[in-house]
């Protein structure tokens, strides 16, 4: 699979997608049976780009699915083929790490609507043979999870030892547990919520408006004009990036320190280090991420409301759940604050589900789940050990 490319699915690949697909696996799914999206559209065939680490054991009982966040992708551990940066979760996954490929078969797939090889607005509409762009159907977290389930079917994996993810990845974990309870032995939703809050939708809307206000966006058809809304996307990223940090972290890292100067410039250059930092975050982001994809994936998060999908009762979503849950939140995360996790815990308790919940002391804000947080690793490895014993996984003391 790796390296061999099915031409029927690669009509108009972007350079990033080509690089990504050359360094991971991909599957052509929904050929016989298209995927019915929440919006009513039937999608198929579609492509899922994914990466795996480790080996599936003979009992097929050691598979772990990692669900990535808004701007993450399938390159969890290794140097990223497009950005050249380290894998986004190499603190968590790798030899000797909590999720060790020597023990588990670890899978991570680029989400539906993404821009690292899985079908999204960059792909061609099979009906018109032209890029979908904004004509791509609006997808949901539920749709993302159904493509992952189809991938598991394709790989012949009946159920998962664990589904884990932070932020939007955590939303997918919750969706997995609610939609496919029998396929999820344990679930670890980190720094997430069962529904996107008004404030979070508001921040996303600012990002989307920034993209759409960029004249180079051209109604989403920028690729046809050989351009892209780089400024709009960069502003979207700058806004979002602030929400991933904490006030304390920003203050400690930058304070009011000036950038390459000794006095205020009395102009609108990046006088302050924090400005320069955000500009850098914005400009590097546009090198790797597609603007339309950003619109679609933020929309999927906005639409996420697990209770709403189950008659308004979150506990109903988890009724009779056989899954072992471990939730984690971070004290300084104001994007997905602890009370959101606690609400999920309440619902799980009301469903008498097996649940653990830990709030981790950290001043690093929402991004903490991506960073070196020993308490998170300690909690997770204890939880997985308990789960592995309960599942009878080999090699667990």
């Amino acid at each position: 699979m790796e390296g061999t490319i099915d031409p029927s699915l690669f009509d108009s690949l972007s350079p990033s997608e080509l690089k990504a697909l050359a360094h991971c696996h991909h599957a052509k799914l929904g050929v016989d049976r298209p995927l019915r999206l929440d919006c009513g559209v039937e999608l198929g065939p579609y492509r899922v780009a994914y990466q795996t680490y480790g080996t599936l054991n003979a009992q097929k009982s050691n598979a772990i699915l990692i669900c990535h966040a808004l701007t993450g992708d399938q390159f969890v551990v290794e140097r990223h083929p497009v950005t050249g940066k380290d894998g986004w979760w190499d603190t968590m996954v790798g030899p000797g790490k909590v999720l060790d490929p020597a023990r588990y078969y670890i899978i991570c797939a680029n989400v539906l609507g993404g821009c690292m090889g899985t079908t999204g607005p960059l792909a061609d509409d099979p009906a018109t043979r032209k890029p979908w762009n904004l004509r791509f159907p609006v997808v949901t977290v539920g749709d993302m999870v159904r493509t992952q389930a189809a991938l598991l079917d394709h790989l012949g994996i009946p159920d998962l030892f664990c589904v884990i993810g932070g932020s939007m990845g955590g939303m997918q974990v919750l969706e997995w547990a609610a939609s496919f309870p029998k396929r999820v032995f344990s679930a670890v939703p980190i720094a997430c919520a069962a529904r996107h809050s008004a404030q979070n939708i508001a921040f996303h809307e600012v990002g989307r408006q920034a993209i759409m206000a960029d004249p180079e966006w051209r109604g989403g058809d920028y690729r046809e004009y050989d351009t892209r809304p780089a400024r709009g996307l960069a502003v979207a990223r700058m806004t979002a990036h602030i929400t991933y940090l904490s006030e304390l972290a920003l203050q400690r890292k930058f304070g009011r320190a000036l950038q390459n100067r000794n006095a205020l410039g009395f102009g609108f250059d990046a006088d302050f280090q924090v400005e320069s930092y955000l500009r850098h975050q914005g400009s590097t982001f546009v090198e790797r991420f597609d603007a339309n994809s950003y619109l679609y994936i933020t929309r999927a998060m906005d639409y996420f409301d697990l209770a709403g999908a189950h008659g308004g009762s979150l506990s109903q979503a988890f009724r009779g759940s056989p899954t072992r849950f471990c939730l984690m939140s971070f004290t300084s995360d104001w994007l997905f604050p602890t009370r959101e996790s606690r609400q999920i815990v309440h619902a799980l308790n009301a469903a008498a589900a097996n649940v653990s919940f830990v709030e981790i002391e950290s001043d690093k804000g929402h991004d903490a789940f991506l960073l070196d947080e020993p308490e998170m690793f300690r909690t997770l490895s204890g939880f997985l050990k308990g789960a592995a014993i309960a599942r009878g996984l080999d090699g667990v003391r």
């Binding site: 309440h346 308790n349 097996n354 653990s356 709030e359 204890g382 939880f383 789960a387």
Partner: protein, 202 residues
Amino acid sequence: MIATAIRVDLQLIADMVESSTRALDVGCGDGSLLAYLVDFKRVDARGMELSQAGVNACVANGLSVVQGDADTDLRDYPNDAFDYVILSQTLQATREPREVLRQMLRVGKRAIVSFPNFAHWQVRLRLVFGGRMPQTPSLPYKWYETPNIHLCSIDDFRALCAETGVLIEQAIVLNRNSRPINLPPFVANLLGEQAVFMLRRD
């Protein structure tokens, strides 16, 4: 977590719990009772603990524990979710002990409660002759920093059970070394330093 020896009073509680049942330990602390129940009695045991440090330690040891408060968070659980709901040495620190007891017996088919006896002779002597708020091994705090805001005697607790229609299936009174002593009730209320009750709905 591989449980080893546990405190004598916790061992007593563990002995009351039948194997392969479901139990919730409210105020589970470092999880030693939970671990014992899981490892030696194959109990599907869950915990609730107020201190975040306690919760984190439990989960890191593979136990299913959430951060929560006996006074407010038992309400989240459905009726009859557990065979046993355990509250060890915590009742006297709750804001509404009667309501906590009611919730325990709603969520669990049985409740196991242990608490220090405020009518123990040492406590009585210290108050009567010392004229000061009693400090004993089971009540070690000074009056201004004690978490124990609703202390009671063994007889008080029996009276509460009678008033609220709670059946006492078993009552064990412990001496200063946490050893069970077999005494008639009015002597037990004088000589028992703590008590463990197994309760169910009438």
